[in-house]
Amino acid sequence: MDTPPDSTIAISTSGLTKIYGDRAALSDATFTVPAGTICGFVGPNGSGKTTTIRMLLGLISPTSGSAYVLGEKISQPENYLPRVGAMIEGPAFYPALSGAENLKVLANLGGFPISRVTELLEKVGLGERGQSKYKTYSLGMKQRLGIAAALLPNPDLLILDEPTNGLDPSGIHEVRELIRSLARSGTTVFVSSHLLSELEMICESLVMLREGKVIFTGLTQELLKAQTPLIVAIPEYAVDLAKLVGIVTAAGFTSKVVAERLEISAPVDWSATLNRLAFEAGITLSAISKVLPSLEDTFFEMTGDAQ
């Protein structure tokens, strides 16, 4: 990939690799992030998400491969970083400075107007605590300050690494809404999280990593379609579970017992047949329902991780 991508692509990588000693933190990663969308970056801890983000921000150099951010090569970060906001691996600020002073340091450094500081503190709900020292902040407040710092350049591309860590449910909701509103105004958001359900709700596209390798890149909906819906059947008496498994197996489907219910990988319209076969076998079902696959289920299915 020697030619820069067109303006519809915010991030593109080709064979991006980072090797530390004999360990590949990232191996041959190739993916694109469409401009103006919210793209989720998912993977278990240690899968290479932060390494990728650091390479995209010019903080670490790749061992091999190439990448473009906002049409510029990552080897020349000064060409694109003034248009990028980022929060990497949680917030990091000077404990003895106030939240406002911390933001002013970064505003000075980037040449952004100091007036943005007050505006951003208000935006992330820290207006009243802006003059308090950073070391007195709760984890949620630190996270909000990190998001405010990322918004300083009024970015075309916002890269957020686990932005909802430490936030309470209302904080998570606010961040989600903030990300959505930024995307509506044309900002591309590349957000990593281990909260897969969180990303499923807000991301139009996804990049999934496992052990340093990209295992999925594409639209969230495509991923959801890749998973067969499940039928969940709960017999009135738990002792009937084994008999129910026999019925499902005889019909050529697979199933697994989870707690006192049976999860069956079969077409949803087979539910009626199952109900009839169970009745004929003397089993009363207290519930039978269709379960739509969550992104998390799909993820674990693909990565092979036990939940």
Binding site: R54, L59, L81, I88, V105, L106, N108, G110
Partner: protein, 263 residues
């Protein structure tokens, strides 16, 4: 570059750092100047390493500079600690990544840091000079020292020379601290190594093999502050200091530019 300097000054002017540094410098300046003037004629001496400075010597044009010169080495140690911690803390706090995202030109960040700390060091030297000279005037009467020559043209020339030398000395120690900060990436390690080297190892080495003093960094930094000595000339110390600091700066600049920011 100016943006980096302003950003760095914002960090350096925080009350916890600025006030504690000024307090330390003020106390040391007051202590050394008081000892020089209040112990005139005392048995154990009133100068460096028990040297006896008489009232007649203090009445010379250089009289008001004894306290200032005595506190010089300690200003250097304060600068070593401040420069080392200000540099290494970027790694321990993880703030370096923020700095480099907002200013990707790494050499600009490094140069901006050095310039801002230079300003900080200059303020420290001027503050120490003000305290020591004011106190010298205040205590001159008590020590029966005449101040008539202290305001002469020659005295002003000597003041400018001493201020410049102490500034170079302070900056040399500070840059030494900055180099250690970049090498060790931990304020505690950098300060410990810097202080132990300067105060303990160099003293032991100098005592055991006296010829080493001519080539040790800390001894040469201090010698610049004193304007040279009978054993080691000012020019020699300046050249040795320049060699050490240029080499150190070159090594850490290459490391800083090329090293991955992975914390």
């Amino acid at each position: 570059m100016i943006n980096v300097v302003i950003a760095e000054l914002r960090k350096l002017r925080r009350p916890t750092l600025l006030l504690s540094t000024l307090l330390t410098v003020g106390l040391l300046s007051g202590l050394f100047t008081s000892l020089v003037f209040l112990r005139v004629g005392a048995k154990g001496g009133n100068g460096k390493r028990g040297e006896a400075i008489t009232a007649a010597e203090l009445s010379h044009a250089t009289g008001f500079l004894y306290g200032f010169k005595l506190v010089g080495t300690f200003l250097g140690l304060v600068a070593l600690c401040v420069f080392a911690s200000q540099t290494a803390q970027e790694y321990t706090y993880g703030t370096l990544r923020n700095l480099l995202v907002r200013q990707p030109a790494r050499m600009k960040v490094l140069a901006g840091k050095f310039i801002s700390m230079k300003i900080f060091a200059a303020a420290m030297v001027i503050f120490a000079g003000t305290i020591t000279i004011s106190l010298s005037y205040a205590l001159a009467g008590h020590a029966k020292v005449s101040t008539s020559l202290w305001s002469s043209g020659a005295a002003m020339h000597l003041l400018a020379q001493a201020t410049l030398n102490i500034f170079i000395q302070t900056l040399s120690f500070g840059l030494f601290g900055m180099i250690l900060g970049l090498l060790f990436r931990s304020p505690i390690s950098a300060i410990a190594v810097g202080v132990i080297w300067t105060l303990i190892l160099e003293t032991i080495l100098g005592a055991v093999i006296s010829s080493t003093s001519k080539w040790l960094p800390g001894a040469n930094f201090s010698n610049i502050g004193e304007g040279g000595s009978l054993l080691v000339s000012y020019k020699h110390s300046l050249a040795v200091t320049l060699c050490y600091l240029l080499l150190g700066s070159l090594i850490v600049s290459v490391l800083f530019k090329r090293r991955d920011v992975a914390n």
